[in-house]
Each structure stands twice: as structure tokens, then as C-alpha cells.
């Protein structure tokens, strides 16, 4: 298997590369990003470039990639401006799929890491979205719109290229020790926000399951759309209780305005989609992915519990984030220098 991972500079990209490096059936791993990888890698080739079509096409052609893992989708709208997010999500995916779908392309599998944000969060929603359930309201936030566009591209790609196995994985609120996601940031605050009078049911995925699901989709053939989320839902009040934080209510009317001061003082950037989640919550049905053979390691409650344990450890001994800096010359030396003894 010859794999191309986009977004190698993100945590997911680096972790996936580490997982895949350990496998014997993966010959080549090429990673693409504008930022260097965050974790030490052994045999992954890193190409520092933006995802322009010409570069992607050349890489795919030259290395005869057969599997594309597209993890470079921005699902947290507070990290980048709307335009940058659009650029990375929509334009980046468009270029990637165009390169993968070129007539001389050797790509036989595309896996996309999307988000359950595409379902939206609205009072008319069913409590559990299946993969084919429609949204109840047109998207109003930029991130939802860009993700829907990305998924539309993928659908078109799948139709135009029936010989390619296309997997679309939608992940729901991810929590983990090493991650910075909207919920993990909210739960790290001394006082966690909530919308007064609302106690929505939320579902979580553990970072180990995200990695596991992506690796599973890479090494097995699982065409189609899948929700990936831990079993069960928890009310927000219970999540805060498990993590051991008190809640501060935001007014139910004009919640966005009340969140402005928090944004301006940079305490917490509450995106509109997060505020909707804190009001109505969202559940997804995760049985389809189980039916193709994936075993979840963590349920929603277990995810929150693990996160709580990580937080307690952090409070005691400080952050344990791996401090790794990528050094290009060192990595090039190890990969290409004739002085290094390889047992090929």
C-alpha cells in the first residue's frame, strides 16, 4: 500500500503516519502539509507544500500512490479565519480529488475525515442521525457550509470513479489528552459555559477511536458514509460533573451576544455551532461502522472519563505534550543518506 496523508502537520496526520509506519503492508507513506509533523516519524516522507493541484498531481504520479488519507479538514472554526478555512477545506479537497481522479492516477482508495457538524444542531432534529438522514435546516455557519461542499465533492468523485473505494467518516466531538478541540478547550476552563435551562445530550469520540477508525478504513475496504462516535450520550451537566467543573450559564436568548465578551477577552471562543450544540446537542447512530467490523474502544462516557483523568494528571504534573520539533536535515539524513545502514 502506498499512502498519501494530507495534513501531516496536524496531530491526526502525524499519529496516522506513526500507526501506518508500523504496518508491513504499507510500503510508502508520503505526507503533505504547510506545517512540519508534530511527532517523530521514521519512514514517512514529508513534503512541505500547500495543496495546489499541480503539486498533488505530480506527487501522486511520481510515487504511484494508491491510497489517499485526507485528514486536513478544518472543523474548528475558531482556529482560522473563514477565508483560510474555505481555502484549506474546499479548495484543498477539490485539488486533491482532481489529482486523485486524473486519468493516469493510480489511486484506488480515498478516505476522508469529516465531521458530524454536517448534520447541524436544531430543535427539529431527530435525536440520532443516521448516515442518510437529512439536515432539518440549511447550514448557517461557515464551517458547516464548507464541510457540506467538501462532502459534495467527494460524492461527485465517487460517482466519477467507481473503481476507487471512497470512505467518508464523520467524527463527532472528539476528546483526548493530546488534542485541542472546542469541547476540550471548554472543559479546561475553570468555569465551563452552558446555555441556561438547557442540558443537551452529547456524544463523544475518543482520539484513540479516531485513529483506529482511520487506520481501519485505510487497511480495509469500507466504501460508503459512516458515523464514528462512541456509544451512548451524556447530558452536558454530567460531562461537567465527571470532569469536575462548575458551569456558568449563558442567557438562552441572545447567547451569541453574551459570548462576545468571552471572545474578545480571548477566554474562550465559542463558535456558533458549539453554542447550538450546547443548546440542543446531537446524537448519531454509530452502528453502521460496527457492522463492517470496527470495535470501538471507548464509549462516550468512557471518553469523558479518560479525558477527566488526563486533566487531573495534567493539573498534578503539568502538560505532558510531547515537545518535538521537526528538523528537516536530520530527517533527510536518516532517510536518504548512504551512511545509514538499511536492512532491505
Amino acid at each position: 500500500m502506498r499512502v498519501l496523508i494530507t495534513g501531516l502537520g496536524t496531530y491526526w496526520g502525524s499519529r496516522l503516519a506513526q500507526h501506518l509506519e508500523a504496518r508491513d503492508d504499507v510500503e510508502v507513506i508520503v505526507g503533505l502539509d504547510t506545517h512540519a509533523p508534530r511527532l517523530p516519524l521514521e519512514r514517512t516522507e514529508f513534503v512541505r507544500a500547500d495543496s495546489s493541484y499541480s503539486i498533488l498531481h505530480r506527487i501522486v504520479q511520481a510515487t504511484e500512490i494508491d491510497t489517499v488519507l485526507h485528514t486536513h479538514l478544518i472543523v474548528d472554526s475558531t482556529q482560522l479565519s473563514g477565508r483560510a478555512m474555505h481555502e484549506i477545506n474546499v479548495i484543498g479537497t477539490m485539488n486533491l480529488l482532481a489529482a486523485a481522479g486524473a486519468p493516469d492516477s493510480t489511486v484506488r482508495k480515498v478516505v476522508l475525515k469529516s465531521s458530524t457538524l454536517v448534520y447541524g444542531s436544531n430543535f427539529k432534529d431527530p435525536y440520532y442521525f443516521r448516515e442518510d438522514t437529512q439536515r432539518t435546516r440549511a447550514p448557517r455557519t461557515r464551517v458547516e457550509r464548507s464541510l457540506l461542499e467538501v462532502e459534495a465533492f467527494l460524492r461527485d468523485f465517487a460517482e466519477d470513479n467507481p473503481h476507487v473505494v471512497v470512505s467518508l467518516l464523520r467524527f463527532t466531538n472528539v476528546l483526548g489528552d493530546h488534542l485541542d478541540t472546542p469541547f476540550s478547550r471548554a472543559l479546561r476552563l475553570p468555569l465551563v459555559p452552558e446555555v441556561f435551562g438547557f442540558d443537551p445530550k452529547l456524544q463523544f469520540t475518543h482520539e484513540a477511536d479516531v485513529e483506529g477508525a482511520l487506520v481501519f478504513a485505510t487497511v480495509h475496504d469500507v466504501p460508503g458514509v459512516y458515523n464514528v462516535a462512541g456509544d451512548g450520550t451524556l447530558p452536558w451537566s454530567e460531562v461537567c460533573k465527571i470532569v469536575g467543573k462548575r458551569r456558568v450559564p449563558l442567557p438562552p436568548i441572545g447567547t451569541n451576544w453574551a459570548a462576545e465578551p468571552l471572545r474578545m477577552t480571548r477566554v474562550l471562543d465559542l463558535s456558533p455551532e458549539l453554542l447550538m450544540l450546547l443548546r440542543y446537542g446531537r446524537g448519531v447512530d454509530n452502528t453502521r461502522f460496527k457492522r463492517v467490523g470496527y470495535h470501538y474502544q471507548f464509549s462516550s462516557a468512557a471518553t469523558v472519563d479518560e479525558f477527566a483523568r488526563g486533566l487531573r494528571l495534567e493539573h498534578a504534573v503539568g502538560s505532558r505534550r510531547p515537545a518535538y520539533t521537526y528538523e528537516r536535515d536530520v530527517e533527510t539524513f536518516f532517510r536518504h543518506s548512504p551512511a545509514v545502514v538499511r536492512d532491505d
Binding site: 427539529k124 442540558d199 451512548g232 451524556l234 446524537g283 452502528t287
Partner: protein, 318 residues
């Protein structure tokens, strides 16, 4: 009140194997686990592995539908005096409700602020020790505080997917009022005349979920809050389905009148279950068949209502 042992309990309907994958990647499909941790004291089937794992982690008992057995017990404790001494509810035919497995309970609806839903849910939970989920308007989900309490007490928005999942996957009892707000928006002079059952979505959901429909005829709700007049214009202004002027409001004032019910005696008759000999999980069901079934259920309830009204000597004492 004596417990009525069920004599019609079938096994829960068999779950058909639905191949949702485009190509069945693996022949050995995993069994699907139920999503709902049922309140442990209310069921005797073993909880799923997921529930057992979560048992040490969870701090509360809110289930997958937002219902909390703790809140529900508290609600029942508070409501019990109303149920026993104010409405003095009496049931007939409770043996028609199965001890296990999903069923769609269907009843006539009345009272501008409905009094029948709490009575039915309380009665069944108390007599049969089975959880009942009540489907209601989406509006409840948008209300702060009240909406959360409603959800913890077993209220679920009336989305067809919710109903299907509750019935088919989780084998729960689901209460629905097909008349909807048209039923509660009836004037007193039209009492006990059932409105048509709309698009009969409830029949289709029951067919698709493979569960029986159990009609319940309720006498007493109409008189507990008789509506004398309603204003369409005010309703539109306030975005309500109707704006009622009830006898309660005339007697107790506008605010108290929304909660102070007259002590009408409640009689509830559970009619025999209606089973559809159709396969579950179909894409479509014949529209005419669905409408026929809905009409027949409506007539059954109507007939039972008239029968009960014939034997009722007094509104307040039965």
C-alpha cells in the same frame, strides 16, 4: 390497584438484518447493540455490555432519550396525589399492554393544556412498571428549564425517526396523540368527537417498526379543562397552535386557570392491540392501507368512548 399480568406478551420482534453497506465488506456482521440503557429496576433483560461498562463512569441516570428514572420517580411521587385523589383514574384492559417489547400507544387528546398525557404515563408506569415515552411537539425542546424537565420526565420530540428508534431498536412503549393540537383545540361543544387522524403517520411508523398499535380511550380529560372559546388572531400573534379561553381560567384567573384542572373522574380503557401482518422496515407502505388502518383505529376509540360515556353517570364521580 392490582397488577394485571400480561397474557399477550410476544417475544420482542426479531430484528431483520439490514445490509446498509454498499458492498457487504464482511460476511460475519456484528450484532447490533441496543442504544438505550433501560432503567434497571424496570426491566429484567440483561443490560448490554456498553451499559455495564459505563456503570462505573456515569454520574447520573439520564438515558439515550434524555429520560431520567430518578426525575421520573420524583415526578410520580409528586403527581400521585393528583392521579389518585383528584382525577381518581381507573383503568380497564391493562392486560392488553405487553410486558416486553415495543408498542405504540394511541389515545384521544383533550384539554387545552393536556391533562391526559401525564395521567396515561403515570398510570402505566405505576401499574405495569414499564417506562413510557411521550411524543410531543418540537416546541418543548426549545423551552429552557421546562423543556429539560419535560425531557427528563420522558418527553420526546415527535420526529418519526425518534419514534421508530424507540419502538424498533429499544422496544419501548411510546405514547402518541394522533389528533395533535387539533384534539386539544376542540371547543367544549365538540367534546369526544375525534378529529381525523391526519396523515396517519403513526400507523406507518408502527408498521415500519413492526410493533402493534394499542388504542386507549380516555374519558375525563375533556371536562377537566373545557375550552369555551378560542382566538385565532391571538394565537397567530403569539405563535401558538391556539389561544384558549377555558372555564378554568374564567373561574381561577388567567394564570392559575392554566394549571387548575377540574376534578373530572378519569376512566381509561385500553383496547386490544392492533397488529399489522406486514413485514417491518419497508421503504413504503400502501397509503390506502395505512389510511384504512388509521380510520379503523379511530372508530374503535370512538366506539369505546361512546360506550364508556353511556355508562358514566356523573362527570365528577364516574
Amino acid at each position: 390497584m392490582t397488577r394485571f399480568p400480561s397474557s399477550v406478551s410476544d417475544e420482542p420482534p426479531e430484528r431483520p438484518v439490514i445490509d446498509l453497506t454498499e458492498h457487504a465488506a464482511r460476511a460475519d456482521l456484528l450484532p447490533v447493540r441496543p442504544a438505550v440503557p433501560m432503567p434497571t429496576h424496570l426491566q429484567d433483560r440483561a443490560s448490554s455490555p456498553a451499559d455495564r461498562d459505563d456503570a462505573g463512569v456515569r454520574e447520573g441516570d439520564v438515558d439515550a432519550w434524555g429520560r431520567s428514572e430518578r426525575v421520573r420517580s420524583l415526578t410520580r411521587a409528586i403527581y400521585d396525589p393528583v392521579y389518585r385523589f383528584w382525577f381518581r383514574a381507573e383503568w380497564e384492559g391493562l392486560e392488553n399492554i405487553p410486558e416486553r417489547g415495543g408498542a405504540l400507544l394511541v389515545a384521544n387528546h383533550a384539554a387545552a393544556v393536556p391533562s391526559d398525557a401525564p395521567v396515561i404515563m403515570h398510570g402505566i408506569e405505576k401499574e405495569l412498571s414499564r417506562a413510557v415515552y411521550g411524543l410531543a411537539e418540537y416546541l418543548f425542546r426549545t423551552l429552557p428549564v421546562v423543556g429539560t424537565l419535560w425531557s427528563r420526565a420522558g418527553g420526546v420530540p415527535a420526529h418519526p425517526d425518534n419514534a421508530y428508534r424507540l419502538l424498533h431498536d429499544d422496544h419501548q412503549l411510546v405514547l402518541v396523540f394522533p389528533e395533535g393540537s387539533k384534539g386539544t383545540g376542540k371547543l367544549y361543544r365538540d367534546r369526544y368527537k375525534l378529529h381525523r387522524f391526519g396523515r396517519a403517520g403513526f400507523v406507518e411508523i408502527a408498521m415500519r417498526a413492526g410493533v402493534p398499535v394499542i388504542p386507549i380511550a380516555v374519558v375525563g380529560a375533556e371536562e377537566s379543562m373545557p375550552m369555551l372559546w378560542k382566538s385565532g388572531r391571538l394565537a397567530k400573534l403569539l405563535n401558538l397552535p391556539y389561544f384558549p379561553i377555558t372555564a378554568n381560567q374564567l373561574l381561577f384567573g388567567p394564570v392559575l386557570g392554566a394549571f387548575a384542572y377540574f376534578p373530572a373522574k378519569f376512566r381509561l380503557r385500553v383496547l386490544p392491540p392492533v397488529r399489522f401482518d406486514l413485514p417491518p422496515d419497508q421503504e413504503r407502505y400502501s397509503r390506502s392501507r395505512v389510511m384504512d388502518e388509521a380510520d379503523s383505529i379511530r372508530e374503535h376509540i370512538q366506539g369505546a368512548l361512546y360506550d364508556m360515556l353511556r355508562t358514566r353517570r356523573s362527570v365528577w364521580f364516574g
